[in-house]
Symmetry: C2
Subunit: 178 residues, 2 copies
Amino acid sequence: MAKEYKRLNRELVKKGAIIDYYHDTMQVPNGNTAVWDFIDHKGAAACVAVKENGKLVMVRQYRNALERETLEIPAGGINPGEDMRSAALRELEEETGYRAGKSEFLLSIRTTVAFCNERIDIYLAENLIAGKQELDEDEYVDIAEYSLDELLSMIDNGQIQDSKTICALLAYYRKLHS
Amino acid sequence: MAKEYKRLNRELVKKGAIIDYYHDTMQVPNGNTAVWDFIDHKGAAACVAVKENGKLVMVRQYRNALERETLEIPAGGINPGEDMRSAALRELEEETGYRAGKSEFLLSIRTTVAFCNERIDIYLAENLIAGKQELDEDEYVDIAEYSLDELLSMIDNGQIQDSKTICALLAYYRKLHS
């Protein structure tokens, strides 16, 4: 099977707030051309933040794409020039007030490979010291703390569906059980 | 904290091949307005397909968003009027040739909630009967079979990063270990 894909053109359709939308004109292996979607995202970082009592620090916020609030691990976009770990720990502190004394890389995900390059690196953050939330002007985030068992039940009953949060919680579960 | 978000407008920017791009004008709780991205996706379904020898049936395909091939669980978009389970089993058969004698709901994910409504329902497919791949004209998919341990190692070393695949494999791992 010939597997030669060739991008003939990438056209910017529109720049957005956190993504940019492109049309890729692709030559597929049979010689046909097709226009495929491409969403460019600058990347993000996230934390599984675990307190000494074993509770995980989660955030609840409104998501216009789902028209509802979601429960997620703390996360946010990378600033220009910032490394992934620094971004993860900065977002943890801004969104929850917690500073982590210790952090460890857990895994890196690509959220939706069929049309988007978004990458999220996820860290385990421990030795947490409580501080003050520092949200952006238009940002509203509630903090909630749950045990891992409570969060796994929320995956099972569909209350947690966010993919980075599920990848992170199940990777942490596997780390504890292997 | 006031938590009233209100969408003042949703403007179609451009229709795409598998997604449509919108700008949402949002009124945030402090009264400010902001334009947020919204990507509309029709939904998808996927399978963890396990053979009697314990090997999982995976697919490898080119992804223009990453400019490389990825190893993923079999998955694809929902056809109009199709239910999630039927879509998952149809995509399994089209992409790999395998028909499943037994299927069970595993979990439902939202791939990237900050800007997109894409939902993927993931099923465990078992009692597999080999058949013939039925790919679309411009679709090229290689089949590969691995043990769960091999796939978990590929998550650990970054060879597998696709979020639906990681959610699915870790959910299956947890199901086996709980």
